[in-house]
């Protein structure tokens, strides 16, 4: 089971877990990235996510496939949300399953680290004082 998607609706983490459920696996690892209320000391009220959609979907799938190869046999499902998210909303959800916990956890970690490194998704933080700023543009 390998699936990757960019979505504009709420991510159902339990649904992702159900997708990788498999009686051949003894371990399921889950990651949910959520919108936090503070960043670099500034009060955050929400985040707007945008993407180069076609490329982001392709990169997400490449990453899931790479994880499945590297930690084979691994089930991988990943969804990243775009649009305006509120505090506590899930921005990225990942579920992996494997016969054993090591590859399940390492595969899940691989997927989130690669997403952060190379998927063309951007976020603009909205602050409590009404201002907005792109994240990760300093030092480019």
């Amino acid at each position: 089971m390998i699936r990757a998607a960019l979505v504009s609706h709420a991510i159902d983490v339990n649904g992702l877990i159900a997708e990788v459920a498999d009686i051949a696996t003894g371990a399921t690892a889950v990651f949910a990235g959520t919108v936090r209320d503070v960043n670099d000391g500034r009060a955050v009220s929400g985040i707007e996510y945008s993407a180069y959609t076609t490329m982001a979907e392709r990169e997400l799938l490449h990453i899931a496939q790479e994880a499945a190869r590297q930690f084979s046999p691994l089930n991988v499902v990943v969804e990243h949300r775009i649009g305006s998210l509120e505090l506590g909303d899930v921005s990225v959800g990942i579920a992996t399953s494997h016969a054993h916990r090591g590859p399940a956890i390492d595969g899940m970690r691989f997927v989130i680290e690669e997403i952060k490194r190379r998927v063309p998704i951007w976020k603009r933080e909205c602050y409590a004082d009404g201002t907005r700023e792109w994240v990760n543009t300093v030092g480019v």
Binding site: G33, Y49, S50, A51, Y52, T54, M55, A56, R58, H80, S91, V92, I112, I115, K116, R117, R118, V119, P120, I121, W122, K123, R124, W134, V135, N136, T137, V140
Partner: protein, 80 residues
């Protein structure tokens, strides 16, 4: 030939638009496109060597472009 370059996030803000048409010679490379856009961008709004993509795949600066290719400049990513 004319190439359409997609701009996103902070780069779209820098140019005030989400895409821009660039005219280059046949056989031009990704690097040629970046050079042209760097000259157009307000100073300090574009890094010296931004990542680029051709047809939705990351591309090195020496990749030669063909008519109809979709080029994109990729700001530092911030997914997750």
């Amino acid at each position: 030939m004319t190439v359409t370059v997609l701009l996103f996030a902070a780069f779209a803000d820098a140019f005030g638009r989400s895409s821009i048409e660039v005219t280059v010679d046949q056989g031009a490379t990704v690097g040629d496109i970046v050079d042209q856009l760097s000259a157009l961008a307000p100073s300090d709004r574009l890094p010296p060597r931004p990542l680029a993509a051709v047809n939705a795949e990351y591309a090195e600066y020496d990749v030669r472009l063909n008519p109809g290719d979709e080029v994109a400049l990729i700001p530092p990513v911030a997914g997750g």
